[in-house]
């Protein structure tokens, strides 16, 4: 028999981690995409490459970098520990950061394409109509780009849900605390609990396929009219 402990707990934890990771990745991804899409500055190409890096780097390598940065002796982790008494390693918040980094390229790419697709003329029209840059962004750019951004955010969510390598490095596999779905699948297979593994695999697949279909729908040209 499947127990809620084995299925529901990792599922809810995964949704929580993926949700926060998506939020984080979307805010950061949209801001950076906007900066790169609209401004020319030195280091622009490097920033663009950096944003794409998590897509091609092995997640365990990313996880290791995060561990070094966020660990007790790392520059960020050490500062957090000394000044705020917070440690992110082996916590669900740590898993959020790992998942957010891995999901970032997806939302960044989607947002950049969407923002670059907005006709500059609409933004100029808004400026001549007396709008500040904040207003132009919120009243014109964002509403015209939201489909692409949302599609990117949904892909990021799907990616965050399936995150394994970096999460394991940073947050470990503590049942009920940091053991997300994909890690729980691994543990279940290792322990020979095939029924648990089967169920978790099906749940994960259904969620990911649904998200892909929905985001594809958002990006379909016909839906834009």
């Amino acid at each position: 028999m499947l127990s809620s402990h084995e299925v529901l707990v990792p599922l809810l934890l995964t949704l929580k981690v993926a949700g926060w990771a998506t939020l984080l990745a979307t805010v950061a991804g949209v801001l950076i995409a906007f900066t790169i899409a609209r401004f020319r500055f030195p280091g622009r190409e490097i920033l663009d490459a950096m944003m794409t890096l998590p897509m091609v780097m092995p997640p365990t390598v990313l996880g290791y970098y995060l561990l070094v940065l966020l660990g007790r002796r790392g520059p960020i982790g050490g500062w957090l520990e000394a000044n705020l008494g917070i440690s992110l390693i082996f916590t669900w918040q740590g898993a959020v950061i790992a998942a957010a980094i891995v999901a970032l390229p997806l939302v960044y790419k989607g947002a950049r394409a969407a923002l670059e697709g907005v006709e500059p003329q609409f933004e100029q029209a808004a400026r001549v109509l007396g709008k500040s840059e904040t207003s132009v962004f919120l009243q014109v750019t964002l509403p015209l780009a939201w489909r692409g951004i949302l599609a990117g955010a949904m892909l990021a969510f799907a990616r965050a849900m399936g995150e394994f390598g970096a999460t394991l490095m940073v947050a470990g596999s503590l049942p009920g605390r940091t053991q997300t779905l994909s890690i729980a699948v691994y543990e279940a297979v290792q322990a020979g609990k095939d029924d648990v593994a089967n169920f978790l695999v099906i749940v994960t697949s259904v969620v990911c396929i649904t998200i892909l279909l929905a985001s594809g729908r958002l990006l379909r040209p016909a839906a834009a009219a």
Binding site: Q121, Q124, A126, K131
Partner: protein, 265 residues
């Protein structure tokens, strides 16, 4: 209303250089800058609106300095109090006609239009014969309707000057004539001075009190079309005299302007 323009800007693309050196003064309520495409008219108009920054020079409207490179003044477009009618109108595709017209008076934190703004939008809908189209979106409108929405959107803020970029180029020839008349009526109703850029001699004949001719980035003659040499006895515009003037081009020599003038019958 006096518009002072004296700007220079060098543009480079694909190894080619374009030098804009535009200097003119418009003092009439209906001024037209005429020239073939590529003459630098658009960039000049955009510079007046604050959408383009000249390398050097000075721009002032009614004595208010909007740009002065030597004093380091560059008023942002949002504070210039000019209205700009884009060639294809640039209506916001995600907003209805009402939302487009009220856009300039709706702060971003506000959900809908305030009752006060709504009343003004309603008046403008009435005035521009757009009643019943308030909830329509730009894609559902005809070319003439789009232009009226764009005008209403531009005029709701009572700008100091109305800048128009090839306002009739996107319309059918028959509709053009009607929209020119409409524009003249609107202009006098709102008592707003306008500056039109165009490569269409008909625009010059119908709209202009004064004419600035531009070619290859430079400004030639400024002509007062109110003078009797361009009017018949009843004071109507003499189409032929104006056409002859335009064909002579910038230097006043009988030499066709590059490209667009040849398309004129």
């Amino acid at each position: 209303m006096r518009i002072d323009v004296d700007i220079r800007k060098t543009l480079r693309s694909n190894g080619r250089e374009f030098v804009l050196d535009a200097k003119f003064i418009c003092e009439d309520d209906r001024s037209v800058v005429f020239g073939p495409s590529g003459a630098g008219k658009s960039i000049t108009l955009r510079a007046i609106a604050g959408l383009e920054t000249p390398d050097h020079g000075r721009i002032a409207i009614a004595g208010k300095v909007l740009f002065d490179s030597s004093l380091g003044i560059d008023v942002p477009a949002r504070d210039r109090s000019v209205a700009y009618l884009f060639q294809d109108y640039a209506l916001f595709p995600h907003l209805s006609v009402v939302e487009n017209i009220g856009f300039g008076l709706k702060p971003w934190w506000q959900r809908g239009l305030s009752a006060d703004v709504m009343r003004r939008v309603d008046e403008l809908l009435e005035l521009f014969e757009l009643r019943g189209l308030g909830r329509a979106f730009p894609v559902e409108l005809s070319g003439g309707q789009r232009q009226r929405v764009a005008l209403a959107r531009a005029l709701i803020r009572h700008p100091d000057v109305l800048l128009l970029d090839e306002p009739f180029a996107a319309l059918d020839p028959l509709l053009r004539e009607r929209m020119r008349d409409e524009l003249l009526k609107t202009r006098s109703l709102f008592k707003v001075p306008m500056l039109v850029i165009t490569h269409d001699p008909d625009d010059v004949a119908v709209l202009a009190e004064s004419l600035v001719v531009m070619e290859q980035g430079r400004v030639g003659q400024t002509v007062d079309l109110k003078s009797s040499s361009y009017r018949d006895e009843e004071g109507h515009v003499n189409d032929r005299a104006i056409r002859a003037l335009l064909v002579r081009g910038m230097d006043g020599k009988a030499q066709p302007l590059r490209s667009s003038i040849r398309a004129v019958k």
